[in-house]
């Protein structure tokens, strides 16, 4: 029979532990049958190790692989996607457990474990998840280490200590490389996460769908301003402009609505578009950095009128920002906005006017009638706007729980219920304006935000989602009009949270969200601390890019050139490696001289000065005998010193304390040893 390779027990234990740790965070995303297969494979492998079962025969393994492959295709319907690819990886990892006979197989499983645990970081980049992944990597390293220890090794915790120690030593090297590694950007586009639900504001608006967002305390984005934070009531984060109305639902303008203006998005580097000149930016802009949470949508939020320099961000015909690809993970962008601006101040061309005043023929007859009447009564568009806002202010109620509306939403809201949330106001206002012949459109995004006292940044949550209106006025172009502000000015001035935190619909889905308890002082402080940690984590770790790299290195080195970089790299790595050598190796090199040999050497030197040279190869006892014979006056001292030396240096079978005591005695005896030039009795 062939000698069967046995994976060392120590290593196998850690390997199976690593398997569990590596799979665990993926379980929530995987179909249940993969998890079950993992449990079965693990149990089987343990039984194999205990000698109760044997490895599955080849045909069973092929069958399992076939079933799993089919399961994947049926379950996901495709293989080119992040989730199916990770699932495939995990299946391979699991099945390999059942085929792990050789050392080589074990190494493959361990390398797969490193890879699978790394994929977790694509799905979740939080601090906790990162800590978990690095902890799991430590266990995987321990398994790799156990594989290279002799098989009789029975000290598993020692392996963990050593494996952890190795990773700890690798940490400074990682930091250095992390700082210096050039970030070259994606080489090709890769499949991204697809199962995640789209969050935040959607690209259509029907009255009733905004109040859902108020149930969520999740973060939408954070904004760090370069200078002063503008006042709360001017923080209107424009996301989408909705110009098309089908009688019930508002949606974005289609590219062919702007066909006469050519392309609707101005991408950096592409040919300039003629509509660029329609917006006038006045005065100094406000610069800020937005870190957006994954929304899985392509549009970005900014104050009007924005400009961004990132190559992935385009400027749209309706003066917003949009990214080339959906935001599937946190995304950072820098924007400058000109709060003072004029958008399309010149007279609108006929086709534009028609688009922005279009209403489906049969909708909202009562509103139309009233709008036509009021338009005739008022002298100017501005006066009409003021009159409508005044109308809202007198009889309307701003509430989280508006009644459900029927077919003619504006009619029912304006004349029947008069209770509504921001989208009811925006919807009815824009319908009213259009009916009165004034170009108007709905804008959705977020309003306000919470200013974190720790750092100069603003937290915008999902419940800050808002809808308002823009009307086009002769001479000044598009103007923001927020009908909600007419009803509930405190909503705009103090923020959503301060108005609604007592109302029952608020944060209904986020029972454990700390935002819910922000009226409790220390909870709020704790929540803001946590958020700051998360913010810093994203800003300096996840968001460490070429820009930050250049900034940091310039600050460290003064100036960036190849010479300084090389010196910095070599210097740092040299220091790190020397430190590792010291802490893990040189520290343990036996101390050759613990004072004992030096003391004895001093003794010999003093005797030599007195004319008694120790011969080469003469053992201490023989030397002592010879010296005592020639200098009988020193016999006691010589004997004492020689005996102490022999015990301190050579006695291996006595207690170390005794030996140390002898070493001390030797030292004192030698320092008091003054042979002088006595008479030497020649034999």
């Amino acid at each position: 029979m062939k000698l069967v390779y046995q994976i060392p027990r120590n290593s196998l234990a850690w390997l199976l532990g690593a398997y569990v740790l590596v799979i665990a965070p993926h379980v929530g995303r995987l179909p249940i049958w993969i998890t079950l297969a993992g449990v079965v494979a693990l149990g089987w492998r343990i039984q194999v190790h205990r000698g109760l079962w044997s490895f599955p025969p080849r045909w069973v393994r092929y069958l399992l692989a076939g079933i799993c492959g089919a399961g994947l295709i049926v379950g996901y319907g495709r293989l080119l996607g992040l989730e199916p690819m990770v699932a495939l990886l995990i299946i391979g990892f699991t099945l390999k457990l059942l085929e792990m006979y050789q050392r080589r197989d074990a190494i493959l499983v361990i390398y797969l474990a490193y890879f699978v645990v790394a994929t977790q970081l694509i799905f979740d980049q939080g601090i906790a998840s990162t800590a978990y992944v690095f902890g799991a990597a430590m266990v995987v390293t321990t398994a790799l280490m156990g594989l290279n220890q002799s098989s009789g090794h029975l000290r598993p915790w020692r392996s963990l200590k050593l494996g952890g120690g190795l990773l700890l030593q690798a940490l400074p090297i990682m930091l250095l490389l992390f700082i210096l590694m050039p970030r070259i950007g994606a080489l090709w586009s890769v499949p991204s996460q697809q199962q995640a639900g789209k969050t935040g504001v959607s690209d259509t608006m029907t009255p009733g769908n905004f109040s859902k967002l108020t149930r969520s305390g999740e973060l939408a984005f954070r904004v760090a301003f370069d200078g002063e934070i503008p006042p709360q009531e001017s923080l209107y984060w424009r996301g989408l402009v909705l110009s098309r109305f089908d009688g019930r639902t508002w949606s974005q303008a289609q590219p062919f609505d702007y066909a006469r203006d050519g392309t609707v998005v101005q991408w950096p580097g592409s040919a300039p578009v003629k509509w660029e000149s329609l917006v006038e930016r006045r005065g100094d802009g406000v610069s800020y950095e937005v870190i957006m949470e994954a929304s899985h949508q392509p549009w970005l939020y900014a104050l009007a009128t924005p400009r961004a320099s990132n190559r992935d961000i385009g400027f749209t015909r309706d003066f917003r920002l949009v990214k080339r690809l959906p935001i599937d993970s946190r995304y950072k962008y820098t924007v400058t906005s000109w709060l003072e601006h004029a958008a399309e101040p010149q007279t609108l061309p006929e086709w534009r006017y028609r688009n922005e005043t279009r209403l489906p023929g049969d909708s909202n007859p009562r509103t139309r009638a009233m709008a036509e009447r009021w338009a005739a009564e008022e002298s100017s568009s501005r006066a009409l706007v003021a009159r409508v806002l005044n109308f809202y202010n007198r009889t309307f109620t701003y509430t989280l729980k508006p009644p459900v509306l029927g077919r003619h939403t504006a009619d029912e809201f304006l004349f029947d219920s008069q209770r509504g949330f921001c989208e009811h106001f925006a919807n009815s206002f824009v319908v009213f304006m259009r009916a009165a012949g004034i170009p108007a459109r709905v804008v959705v995004g977020y309003q306000g935000g919470e200013i974190s006292p720790l750092q100069n940044y603003v937290l915008v949550h999902q419940f800050d989602a808002h809808a308002w209106a823009e009307v086009w006025l002769e001479g000044s172009g598009w103007q923001r009009v927020d009908p909600t502000a007419a009803v509930a000015p405190e909503r705009i001035e103090r923020g959503f949270q301060s108005v609604f935190s007592e109302q029952s619909g608020f944060l209904a889905d986020s029972l454990f969200s700390l935002v819910r308890y922000s009226n409790v002082g220390f909870v709020n402080w704790f929540r803001l601390q946590l958020d700051y940690m998360d913010y810093a984590w994203y800003r300096y770790v996840l968001g460490y890019d070429n820009q930050l790299q250049v900034d940091l290195l310039t600050r460290l080195l003064g100036k960036l050139d190849a010479m300084r970089m090389v010196v910095f790299f070599l210097g740092c790595s040299g220091v790190i490696l020397l430190a590792i050598c010291w802490f893990s190796m040189w520290r343990y090199v036996a101390k050759r001289d613990d004072g004992v040999a030096a003391s004895y050497a001093k003794f010999c030197k003093r005797l030599a000065a007195a004319g008694l040279e120790r011969k080469a190869g003469e053992v201490p006892a023989a030397f002592a005998a010879r010296a005592s014979e020639q200098r009988p006056d020193l016999r006691a001292a010589i004997d004492h010193i020689t005996q102490s030396f022999c015990v301190a240096a050579y006695a291996g079978d006595i207690a170390p304390e005794l030996q140390q005591q002898q070493a001390r005695e030797l030292k004192t005896a030698v320092s008091g040893f003054r042979p002088g030039r006595g008479v030497i009795y020649k034999r």
């Binding site: 390398y111 290279n148 590694m181």
Partner: protein
């Protein structure tokens, strides 16, 4: 003899060219190694004699790093990048650790146990170090033998018994001792080839031969042996045992009432065995030596003294392990200089 199996590019070449190229390469390599790691009875492992290079698993690990780097770059994910860089750091750190798992230990050859051709020669080594570190999973072996695994505790020492197989007799050098380790992560292999300056005595392979032709020697040198029936010389008396011949009873002493004794006679017979080269006339030298070797071993099992006669050499008869080893040594080194030159390459 081939010291090390050194994998080389030349092994990919066509056989004939390959063989000569490999031979040339190996010769040069051996000469270089002799300068680099000279022979010594005690060798301290330092950076002067330790080699280190990534193992196959190490190259695979580098592949893993590249893969992780690709994922990190394409997903623009700094955390995957950090993990990839952490593992890079792990690789770098493991260079230091693998190296230091050899460095600082010393290997001393203590002695070699003589053996016969075709058998394993045992070499005793002392491995020691004085540092307060542990050494783990060191592998020691001579070419062609499975490795012996050693863990050294802090400030520890260990005795190892290693074996190598010799296919020729005489004073044999075991070749270079391979000491290697993959500890701690298996990503790198640190190794060294040590020439411990030790030669082992290898006896000829014993081959079964017939009985040794008896040679009764002349009386003078002979040794008085057991009582024989036909002996003539009176040797002494011993207590009567039932069954002794009535004729041999010492009646005189019986008559003096001293008890019943039997008279003993002995013949002087030369019972010494001569293991003689000339008995095997007609065979070649090595066959003769093998059979002589067999006779030596056989004679030591017996009860008689034995001696050895080789051309120009005669060792007087005696008995005991020391005597046997002396004879075996004579056989081992007999006409070694002719043997060396005659030995074909294939036997090396």
């Amino acid at each position: 003899m081939s010291l090390v199996r050194f994998p080389s590019l030349s092994s990919l070449l066509p056989t004939a060219i390959g063989r000569s190229a490999r031979g040339l390469f190996q010769n040069r390599f051996r000469r270089w190694l002799n300068r680099r790691v000279p022979a010594s009875r005690r060798i301290l492992l330092t950076r002067m004699n330790i080699f280190i290079f990534p193992s196959r698993a190490g190259f695979a690990f580098v592949g893993l790093l590249l893969l992780l780097w690709l994922v990190a770059t394409n997903y623009e994910n700094n955390l995957v990048m950090a993990l990839a860089l952490l593992l890079t750091g792990l690789f770098v750190v493991s260079i230091l650790h693998t190296f230091s798992n050899l460095s600082g230990a010393s290997v001393t050859a203590i002695r070699a146990q003589p053996a016969f051709v075709g058998e394993d020669v045992q070499i005793s080594l002392l491995i020691e170090h004085s540092g307060r570190r542990e050494y783990e999973n060191l592998l020691f072996n001579y070419a062609g033998k499975p490795p012996v695994i050693l863990n050294l505790p802090a400030e520890g020492s260990a005795n190892l018994k290693l074996y190598f197989k010799s296919e020729r007799r005489g004073w044999v050098n075991p070749g270079r001792l391979l000491v290697q380790t993959w500890y701690p992560l298996g990503l790198l292999r640190a190794w060294t080839w040590l020439d411990l300056d030790i030669t082992c005595l290898v006896y000829p392979k014993p081959l079964r031969a017939g009985p040794i032709p008896a040679a009764l020697g002349t009386g003078d040198e002979g040794e008085v042996s057991d009582a024989m029936a036909g002996g003539e010389d009176f040797r002494g008396l011993r207590a009567y045992q039932p069954g002794d011949s009535m004729r041999r009873i010492a009646w005189k002493s019986f008559a003096r009432e001293r008890g019943l004794y039997t008279r003993e006679y002995a013949a002087s017979i030369d019972r010494r065995i001569w293991i003689d080269w000339d008995y095997l006339a007609g065979m070649d030298r090595e066959s003769r030596l093998s059979r002589l070797c067999f006779w030596v071993l056989q004679s030591e099992q017996g009860t008689d003294n034995y001696g050895l006669r080789l051309p120009g050499i005669e060792i007087p008869a005696a008995r005991g392990a020391v005597h046997r080893d002396a004879l075996l040594k004579q056989l081992a080194v007999f006409e070694l200089e002719h043997y060396e030159t005659r030995l074909p390459d294939s036997a090396q």
